[in-house]
Amino acid sequence: MTRTRRPGISRRSTLALMGAGAMTVAAPWVARAQAKTIKIGMPTILSGRVAQLGTSSRNAVMLEVEKVNAAGGLAGRQIEMVIRDSKGQPQEAARVARELVNTDGCELLIDAEASSGAFAVHEVARDLGVFCIHTNSETSALTADPKQHIPNAFRTARQGVHDSIVGGSYAAAIAKAKGLKKWATCSPDYAYGRDTTAEFTLYLKRFAPDVEIISESWPKLFQPDYTEVVTKILQAKPQALYSCLWGGDLTSYIDQANIYAMFGQMEVFAVNMADYTALTVVKNLPKGIHSGNRYIKTFPGTPENAAWGDAYKAKYNEYPTNWSWENATAVMLMAEAAKKANSADGKKLAEALAGLTIKCPFGADGTVTMRAEDHTLVGYAIGWGTTIPQEPYVPEVKAGDWKTIFELEAEWKKSKGYT
C-alpha cells in the first residue's frame, strides 16, 4: 500500500498558517483603517404619524454625509451614520441614544427628535457628555433656558420665538395696510400650538396695537373633522385668521374650509403652509394664504438653494421638508467645525462650533451662525409670503429682519427670566 499522505506539515496547514500569519501582521492595519471611520448616531422618528419628516431628516443627512465623505471625511475620518427609530417615544429616544453611544461606539450624535424626545436625548447628552446637535426641536426653551445649557449640545433647528417675531411683524404690516382689526386664531391644542399662538399675537399686537382677538379655536392634535371649528370662525366674522396647524392637520383643515369658501372671506395667516409636505397635498390650494417659509427652494432665491433642492429631489424623488434643511445644516456645520479644529473629537468640535459662521444655502445672507452664547442657529432664511396654487407655490417671500429679531429676542429672554 502506498501512502500518499507524507508525514510533516501538509499543504493545507501551511496555507492556513500562512493565512493566520498574514492576518496577524495585517490586523493592526485593518484596525487602524476601521478606527479612521467615525460613527455618528442619529435617533429619529421613522414610524408613526410623523415618519415622513423623520425619513426626510435621514435623507438630508445622507445627502450631506456623502459629500463630506467624498471630500475626505470629518478631519480625515470617513463618516458612518447609524440611524435608528425612536417611534416618537421619549423613553425610546433616550434608550436608543444611549445604545448608540455605549454599544455602537458612536462618538457624535445628531438628535433628529421632535419636542419631548429632544429633551430626553438632551439629558443623555448631559449624562454621557457626548457631542450632540439637536436638529428638529423648535421649542425655544431648549437653548434659551440657561438651565438647559450644556457645553456639548447645539441646535440647528429654527426657533419658535424667531418665527413669532417675524410672523407678528409681517402680519402687523398687512393688518395696518388693509385695516384688519378683528382676528381669530385656530391652532392645535398642545404646547407648541398654545405657545406659538400666544407669541404670535403678542408681537402682532405690539406692532399693530388696535388688533383684537375675537375668537379662539383649539382643535385637538390629529383631529379628523374641522367642521365645528370652521363654522365657529365663520360665525365670528373675523377679518383675519391665524393658524399654526401643520402637516396633515393643516391640509385637512384647508380642504374642509374650502367647502365653506372660507378663504375668500378673510385673510389667512398659516405659518406652516409653505412646506412641500403641505403645499403638494392640499387638493385646491387657495391663492393668497400668508405663510412663513419652512423649506422652499425659491427662498432664499439663490442658485445654491435651488441646486440643493433639486439635488434632493433628483435623489429621493420628493421635495425636502423643513426638517431636511435643519439636518443638512447640522452636517455642514460639523464638517466646517472639524476643519477648523482639525479633529473629529467631540470636545474640540464643540469648541470650534460655538460662534462658527459658515457658508450655507439656507442662510439669509448666504451664511448661518452657531451663536456662541446659547448654542442655537441664527441667520437662517426666515420670511413670509403668499401662496399660488402651482409651482413655485410661494413666488415671493418677504425676508424677516435679523436685527429686529435679535432685539426682540433679547427682550423676550429677559421677560422669561432667562437672562
Binding site: D85, P90, A94, R98, N102, A120, K147, Y190, A191, R194
Partner: protein, 340 residues
Amino acid sequence: MTELEAGRAETLVPGRGVTTVWERYRDILIALIAFAVLASLPLFTGSKALLDFVIRCSAYGLFATSLNLLVGYTGLTSFGHGMFFGLGAYSFGLIMQRLGVPIPIAFVATLAITAVVAAVIGAICVRLKEIYFAFVTLAFQMLIHSTILSWASFTGGDQGLRGGIPRPVFLGVDLSNHIHLYVASCALLILGLLAMRQIAQSPFGYTLRMIRDNAARASFLGIDVWRAKLTIFVLAALFASMGGMVMALFVSGAYPEFAYWTISGEGIFINMLGGVSTFLGPMVGTVLLLLLNDTVTRFTEYHGIVLGIVILFFALGLRKGLLDFVAEWFAHRREAGEGR
C-alpha cells in the same frame, strides 16, 4: 376554583400544610441569590447597554408584575394601570425638581401620593366588573394624561419635565453614577418582586384568587369583596409607581407618554407574552418584549410588523404566555412520569 386551576395552584405551592424551614424562607433565599447575581454583573461585563437593559427591565418588570396582581390573581383587567407608572414618574420628578429633598423622602412621598390617588380612583372603579372596569380605568388614565398635557405650567405639558431630575447623594449612594443607579434599580426590583410574592402567597392572596374564581361565593363566606379589591388595586398601584420612578431616574425626566394608554397596553402585552398564571410570567414577558424591541429596532423600522407576528404567534399558536406554556409542559411530563 376549576379543576385546572386547582391543579395549577398545587404545582405552584407543592405540599401546602407541611411547611418546612426551607419552604418558609425559599422565596427570600431565591431573592437574595438573584440580587447577588444581578448586582455582581458589572464585575464581569463592562457592557453599559446590558446594565441599561436591566434597569429598564426593573422599571417595566415592576409595572407588569403589579398589573398581574390585578389581572392574573384578582381577575381585574385594568386598561389604565399605566396611569400609576406615569404618576410615579411625575410625582418623583416634580418633588425632586421643586423641593430638592433627599431621594428616599421623595420616594416615600411619591408612594404616599400614589396611594391616595389610587384609593380615590379604585373606590370608584372596583365596584365595576369586566369590560366596565377596564374602560373606566382607561378613562381615568386618559384624564391623568390630559391633565399632564394641559397643566403645562406645572408639568411642562407635552414637552415633559425638562432640565433633568437632580440626584443628590444619599447614604453614599449617588444615583447619577451609572453603576449605583443599576444596583439601586436591581434592589428595588428584587424587593418589589419579593413583596408582591408575599402578597400573592399570603391568605389575602388566596382570598384574591377566590374572588377571581367566584366573587359571590367569597362574599357569602363573609369576605368584604369590595375592600379586598380596593386593597389590591392600591397595592398594585404602589409597585407600578415604583416602576415609574425607576424609569424617571433612567431617562432623568418624565414625559406624558409614561401616562398614556400605550404603556398600559404594553403591560397587558407583556402579561400575554409571559403568562398570567405564574408569578414570574410577567417578568419573563418583560425580558422577552424588551429583547424583541431592542433587537428588532436595530435592524428595521418596520418593527410593528415583527411584533404583530409575535403577538399572533402567542395568541393563536401557544394560546397562552410563555411561562404558562413551560409550566404546563413540566406538569404534563411529571404526570406522564408518574404513569397517571
